[in-house]
């Protein structure tokens, strides 16, 4: 469907109520895979991190990764879930070449975590509580590369390559209950929900949480219900939406697409859909009926997972402060305005600013440096701001400014030196000789010279036109190569001109 055939968004909401559901897959960052001892690493040579078990060779058997269980329980707890006293793996049977065993080892009716809740805050301040049905453990599939034909698509490909390095990587799949009442906010709910999950897993340290590397992947279910009806519409499942912005766009697109179809008397096909980042549209995948039969049955090669209540409580005690609560606390502590705070959060600089403040810097100064000069330099370098410089160095830099050793302009040069690896801010100051000249002697000499060179300016100052001093101050600052405190220069100019009070 071309964009032209979409229904206007407001019109769509007038006619229909969107109903949402999300399945978010989180790749855990355990050292080894879910069911074998192979390394869980991104970007190795194809099929290097494999063994008889994750290759599905005859005779291979799974062993459960205890760290993956621990991470899953912590994630479940952070999502407000109950942790099952008795949980089992189950086989989900289907044939596909990226699935070495031709079944996925997953969980079915006995997931490790269930009945959770996550409250998210939209930009409008609206709070939306998303009910979590379950969070279950499973292993990831390998990666298929289709060669020949058009742009990596399976249709028309000459052949396909399989890399099983990702096969067997531990996943937690978080499934929401139906989200109703999202209305016009529905796309934003999708984005905020996935952002919240990403923030939680990052805070827990259980995943690298890089969406661009597929550490967090979202399947978005969207259906429309005609206003006044209580019958759910047919849903589509848009698979593997891999950025926050795309989640929002994909939900919005599906609402508009489905509305146009329904309004024209058409029907929605229950199917998976592919999201196309470049064109911003979804396209039909495979039909998906509720009767899809994966022939689930309890995995006979694994014993049940029965985490003791004591262990669960121990793990609960290790949970960090929930991200939303932490944000609320930090904004209040720092006294940032909403926009200022949002700026920090959106730039992914919360941790950096917090650490800088913890190292002694004033909150506003820390915010200003991180979202200003450091973010600018990071942008130029094409890297994340927090990877550019350590918060302790930023705090030291701010301290030098506060002490008057550096002006902002000098401090920016020092920052460049620190980033270039020349040392701590203090070391860069010494190495580059950048400190503000605080000895009045050289300043007075420079002022006298400047005044002598501009007798008309001197005359103006003497008759009370103090603003004329700017030209002299500029000349002095230039002569001092910026290493002077402009305020002190001004004082001394007026003094030497004989008008100082």
């Amino acid at each position: 469907m071309k964009k032209a055939e979409l229904m206007d968004y407001d019109k769509a909401l007038e006619l229909f109520e969107p109903v949402l559901g999300f399945e978010v897959h989180v790749e855990l960052n355990t050292k080894t895979k879910m069911f074998c001892g192979c390394a869980n690493e991104f970007g190795q040579g194809a099929n290097t991190n494999t063994c008889p078990t994750c290759l599905g060779l005859p005779g291979g058997l799974p062993q459960v990764n205890a760290k993956a269980i621990e991470s899953s329980i912590r994630l479940g707890l952070a999502l407000g879930c109950e942790i099952a006293e008795y949980s089992r793996f189950a086989r989900k049977n289907y044939f596909y070449p990226d699935t070495a065993k031709n079944f996925q080892t997953s969980q079915y009716d006995e997931p490790i975590a269930f009945n959770g809740q996550l409250t998210i805050e939209l930009e409008s301040g609206r709070l939306v509580t998303v009910d979590i049905e379950r969070a279950h453990m499973e292993d990831d599939a390998g990666k298929l590369t289709h060669v020949g034909g058009q742009a990596g698509r399976i249709q028309g490909a000459d052949y396909s390559l399989v890399d099983y390095n990702r096969g067997g990587v531990p996943l937690v799949e978080i499934v929401t209950r139906m989200i109703e009442g999202g209305e016009a906010d529905s796309p934003e709910i999708g984005r905020s929900y996935v952002a919240a999950i990403r923030e939680i897993v990052k805070g827990l340290g259980v995943s690298n949480a890089r969406m661009e590397e597929g550490n967090v992947r979202c399947d978005a279910n969207v259906s429309l219900r005609p206003r006044g009806s209580n019958i759910l519409g047919t849903r589509t499942e848009t698979k593997n939406v891999n950025s926050l912005r795309s989640v929002e766009r994909a939900v919005r697109y599906e609402i508009q697409r489905q509305a146009a179809l329904l309004a024209a008397g058409g029907t929605i096909t229950q199917e998976t859909r592919h999201w196309h980042e470049d064109t911003g549209i979804t396209s039909a995948g495979r039909p998906k009926s509720d009767a899809d039969d994966y022939r689930y049955f309890p995995e006979p090669d694994l014993v049940p997972v029965a985490p003791s209540r004591e262990w669960v409580e121990e793990l609960r005690a290790t949970l960090p402060e929930p991200p939303a609560a932490r944000r609320k606390r930090l904004q209040a502590d720092w006294g940032f305005a909403n926009l200022e705070f949002q700026d920090v959060v959106n730039s992914d600089l919360l941790d950096a600013v917090e650490a800088t403040i913890a190292a002694g810097a004033a909150a506003q100064a820390a915010r200003k440096w991180w979202t200003g000069e450091i973010a600018r330099l990071a942008n130029v370098a094409g890297v994340a701001a927090h990877s550019l410089v350590h918060p302790v160095q930023v705090a030291a830099l701010i301290e030098l400014v506060v002490a008057g050793t550096l002006t902002d302009r000098l401090a920016r040069q020092v920052l460049e030196g620190v980033i270039a690896g020349e040392g701590t801010p203090l070391e860069v100051v010494e190495l580059r000789g950048l400190a503000v000249v605080s000895d009045d002697g050289p300043l007075i000499a420079a002022i006298d010279e400047a005044l002598a060179a501009q007798p008309d300016v001197l005359a103006k100052i003497r008759v009370g036109k103090v603003q004329a001093a700017g030209a002299v101050i500029g000349a002095v600052m230039k002569a001092m190569r910026g290493q002077a405190d402009a305020a002190r220069v001004r004082e001394l100019v007026l003094e030497r001109a004989g008008t100082a009070q």
């Binding site: 008889p52 291979g60 058997l61 022939r295 006979p300």
Partner: protein, 515 residues
């Protein structure tokens, strides 16, 4: 010189230890015998003559150098083809794995090698261990050494025929519903299915994960115990492997050789498996054995296991269900043969289908279809779910029985070895052959089969099955060794000494290169 191939593993162990014979001599004797008789018996799918002799030479060198070696070091062993071996093809009797050499050893194979045993080769079996006769091997059936026109049992007919024809003193088998015990029974050898979880399944090509168990196939109870001690014990690579520490099975078997070992032992006869509908000669020998036991001081107790009557039905739902999933990986993508469809496009799905159609035999397809059906939405509760409930009930029957008795006994199989083709067209008749052995797999308890005579009507071996509570495998060995001693003392010889001599084929296969 002694005929080395007729000696037990324990006797060979003694001769090897005092260096009366070398492992190379012992190994060569067995390889030569294989070359002489296996064209007729067809116990082996692969014979690793050169590798076996080289391994034997290494063990001899180590012994000469004074290395401390285990009791079975230097003793040859045959390995069921269901076990992954990194130096020999591992086909599980299936066309779909023809020529496949795994990149790894099964844990039991690794342990056998570490203990210095000499792998002779891989033994024939029903395809993926589905069958009771080896007739479902993709590579042709194995013949019973007692009568070459008859089946050697299955699925492990190759391992049982190998030891009963003196091609190997020891073999490894796997038992999902009787695949070690029933072949042992019909070939006059000894076979043990250990407690579920007692022996690692890692590297054993899975049939039904919750039922499969690897175990020893031998000619004496004591040899089985020696081999059990080598292969048993916890394996972190098998999550269902028990972490218990185990007593020495060999010591347990030796305890059974003491005088009076049977005195006061409470022996339960399961009414449901006492022989109704069984071959008359099987019933007769079973009755005589019970009488001998009673005379030796054992207390014979009648027990009932009412739910055993549902065992076959439950088994033939659970097994196919698990097998349908376990066998899904045979898809041509990573290993094994690949067959392209005769016409039409080459999609992965169509290549998988064509490969599975060409690579799987009729019994495998039958069970995959059964299992797929049993797991289907809407049928799961009625079939797989109900079968699991029956399984629980059978476990309770065992619990109740073992509350009254120390061991349970029954004939190992309802009949002696049947003729080739007799049950091939009637799957139900073939399945019913497992009625005696299946309950132990469903409950996870250990079971043993040992010879209890020849049926008068056909002169073929009859097996006695002994079962013990889970984890009490040692009790099987103590009781089994005592029964074996009692029977052989009564007969004045071993059962296998009555087996017909196999005539060497005219041209030794070894002269043409071993198959």
């Amino acid at each position: 010189m002694t005929n080395l191939i007729k000696l037990s593993a324990a006797d060979l162990s003694g001769l090897l230890a005092d260096r009366s014979v070398s492992s190379v001599e012992v190994t060569r004797a067995h390889l030569d015998h294989i070359a002489a008789v296996d064209t007729d018996v067809h116990a082996f799918l692969h014979v690793a003559r050169d590798a076996a002799l080289a391994t034997a030479a290494r063990i001899d060198a180590r012994r000469a150098a004074g290395d401390v070696l285990g009791p079975l070091a230097g003793v040859p062993i045959a390995i069921k083809d269901v076990l992954a071996t990194q130096d020999m093809p591992s086909t599980a009797g299936s066309k779909i794995l023809e020529g496949w050499i795994p990149p790894y050893d099964a844990t039991v194979v690794r342990r056998v090698r570490d203990a210095g045993l000499i792998p002779l080769g891989k033994t024939n079996m029903d395809e993926f261990a589905m069958g009771s006769s080896t007739e479902f091997s993709a590579y042709g059936p194995t013949h019973n050494p007692w009568d070459l026109d008859r089946i050697p049992g299955g699925s492990g007919g190759g391992s049982a025929a190998a030891v009963s024809s003196f091609e190997a003193p020891l073999a490894l088998g796997s038992d999902t519903g009787g695949s070690i015990r029933q072949p042992a029974a019909v070939t006059g050898s000894v076979g043990v299915k250990p407690t579920y979880g007692g022996v690692s399944r890692y590297g054993s090509i899975a049939l039904a994960s919750s039922l499969d168990q690897v175990g020893p196939v031998t000619r004496t109870v004591y040899d089985a115990a020696l081999l059990h001690d080598v292969i048993g014990g916890h394996d972190p690579l098998d999550s269902t492997s028990l972490t218990d520490s185990w007593p020495s099975m060999a010591a347990a078997a030796r305890a059974g050789l003491a005088d009076g070992a049977l005195k006061g032992v409470r022996v339960g006869v399961i009414r449901e498996l006492a022989g109704e509908g069984f071959q008359p000669g099987v019933r007769q020998r079973f009755g005589e054995t019970l009488a001998l036991l009673a005379a030796a001081g054992a207390e014979i107790v009648q027990v009932s296991a009412p739910n055993f009557e549902y065992a076959i039905a439950a088994y033939y739902l659970i097994l196919p269900a698990e097998a349908s999933s376990n066998l899904a990986r045979f898809d041509s993508v990573r290993f094994g043969i690949r067959v392209n469809p005769a016409e039409g496009p080459l999609t992965s799905e169509r290549v998988m289908a064509a490969t599975r159609d060409a690579g799987f035999g009729p019994e495998v397809k039958r069970r995959i279809i059964l299992g797929t059906y049993a797991l289907s939405a809407g049928y799961y509760d009625a079939y797989y779910g109900s079968a699991q409930k029956v399984r629980t009930l059978i476990q309770r029957d065992f619990d109740a029985a073992f509350a009254q008795v120390d061991v349970l006994v029954s004939p190992s199989a309802p009949t002696t070895a049947f003729k080739f083709g007799e049950k091939m067209t009637d799957p139900m008749a073939m399945y019913l052959n497992d009625v005696t052995t299946i309950p132990a797999n469903l409950a996870g308890v250990p079971g043993m089969s040992l010879p209890m005579g020849l049926a008068p009507e056909d002169g073929l071996p009859v097996g006695l099955q002994i079962m013990a509570p889970a984890k009490l495998d040692a009790r099987l060995y103590t009781f089994g060794a005592a029964v074996e001693r009692l029977l052989e003392a009564t007969w004045g010889h071993t059962l296998l000494s009555q087996a017909p001599e196999l005539a060497p084929t005219e041209m030794f296969a070894s002269e043409e290169g071993v198959v």
